[in-house]
């Protein structure tokens, strides 16, 4: 056991011991960017005045949309009584179709780069350790200048699928932390079924590779870490994947 005679020395050492590593900084930064990107999707990216959570604004919009839809259906129903049941059904279907097409236009998606850019670029002179984090894409200008985009339906929102993805990946991380790579792999398969075309593909592949290596699911002669590095050469997960996957006699060895 290390001996500390001076209280200040011990506190300074403890402070260093409690500090995050570069990997912690990079990992949390990516997660924050994901969450912020999810929050910005479906809105214009502004924080509402007073800092009210965006979810509330979106809930209000949904309630307003619902009210409009109910009113439109009511008008159609009353019209139906006047024109006869058969005509009414026709009118109602027309008005419902009209209202839903007016209120729920096709989802407008953003480019992958725009989706990923949750926060702007890092300061010109970032601290040493933050510099280890992957470079952020240039700040995405708010979409206020573009034509207003009506809110998409809840199930179709990019933010909801991204949230599912984030939650799924968190669960995968927990499974890995608990030393359950098999469970992590089944969670990843479940995530693939739920969100087949997600945005966090790099994260998925990284965790899948780590889980496979931890589970010993490595085909002979295949270096999974190398494959990952080939696909994502600048990945912040590269080191972690490489550490998790011991080097094999890979294709380069000639077998």
């Amino acid at each position: 056991m290390t001996s500390f005679t001076d209280e200040r020395d011990l506190l300074a050492a403890a402070r260093r011991g409690l500090s995050p590593t570069a990997a912690d900084r990079a990992r949390v930064l990516r997660a924050i960017r994901g969450v912020i990107a999810a929050g910005d999707a479906g809105s214009n990216g502004d924080v509402p005045p007073g800092g009210a959570p965006r979810l509330i604004t979106r809930a209000r919009r949904l309630v307003a949309m619902g009210a409009v839809a109910v009113a439109a259906a009511g008008v159609g129903y009353l019209g139906g009584f006047r024109a006869g049941r058969r005509q009414a059904a026709f009118d109602a279907s027309l008005s419902t179709a009209a209202s839903s097409s007016a209120e729920r236009p096709k989802l407008v998606t953003r480019s992958p780069a725009a989706e990923r850019a949750g926060i702007g670029h890092l300061p010109a002179a970032p601290s040493r350790d933050v510099a280890d984090a992957p470079a952020l894409p240039p700040a995405v200008r708010r979409r206020a200048h573009a034509a207003p985009v009506p809110p998409p339906t809840l199930d179709e929102t990019p933010s909801s699928s991204l949230t599912v993805e984030l939650e799924g990946l968190r669960a995968v991380e927990r499974a890995l932390r608990d030393g359950k790579p098999g469970f992590a792999l089944s969670l990843l398969r479940e995530l693939d079924d739920k969100v087949p075309k997600g945005r966090l593909l790099e994260e998925r592949l990284a965790t899948r590779t780590i889980a496979r290596c931890a589970a010993g699911d490595v085909p002979m002669g295949i270096d999974l870490a190398e494959e990952f590095a080939d696909r994502y050469p600048d990945s912040v997960y590269g080191r972690r994947v490489a550490d998790a996957c011991p080097r094999t006699d890979s294709r380069r060895s000639g077998d």
Partner: protein, 169 residues
């Protein structure tokens, strides 16, 4: 005042927030989530930050609430979370220093485990982070003289714990 951005806050204060969460008893397995929660709140509220308090003081208030939520959640779950060994190559101290720092951190954590929430905050801000007492008092909504007195007592308690440790060694 120049407008502070999330990137500035992250670059300058992430370490502080992380230490704060660890010191306030957030389980190791929940640290990522807790730190993320803090900065998402910062993202939402940054435009409301007027600079009346210092940035660390403001962040401490957010981190304290987040830590409290995570501690409650962890207590409900009671699932053991094991740290994933995930370290980038060290650019800092060598193995001996690393072990020494971890031992010191473990000792301080054990000491803080025996403190109530108010004292934990006081210990973290005043002794571990070395923040000025008037600022600590503002962060914890204490009269300055009370903060001085409590910090003095806390330091004494800590010195006694340290002396016991050295005797045991």
């Amino acid at each position: 005042m120049d407008r502070v951005t999330l990137e500035d806050v992250y670059a300058e204060q992430f370490d502080f927030v992380w230490r704060c969460l660890r010191s306030l008893g957030v389980p190791a397995g929940a640290l990522d989530d807790a730190a993320q929660d803090v900065f998402v709140i910062v993202h939402r509220r940054l435009q409301d930050f007027r600079g009346d308090a210092s940035l660390p003081t403001w962040l401490f208030g957010i981190a304290r609430n987040v830590a409290s939520n995570h501690r409650r959640r962890a207590a409900r779950k009671q699932a053991p979370l094991v740290d994933l060994a995930e370290e980038l190559p060290s650019v800092g101290p060598g193995p001996a220093e690393y072990v020494q720092d971890q031992e010191a951190a473990a000792f301080v954590n054990r000491f803080m485990d025996g403190l109530n929430e108010d004292k934990r905050g006081l210990f973290f801000l005043a002794l571990l982070e070395g923040m000025a007492i008037p600022e600590v008092a503002a962060a914890l909504a204490l009269p300055v003289n009370t903060a001085y007195t409590r910090v003095r007592r806390l330091r004494l308690e800590f010195q006694q714990a340290l002396a016991r440790r050295e005797t045991a060694a």
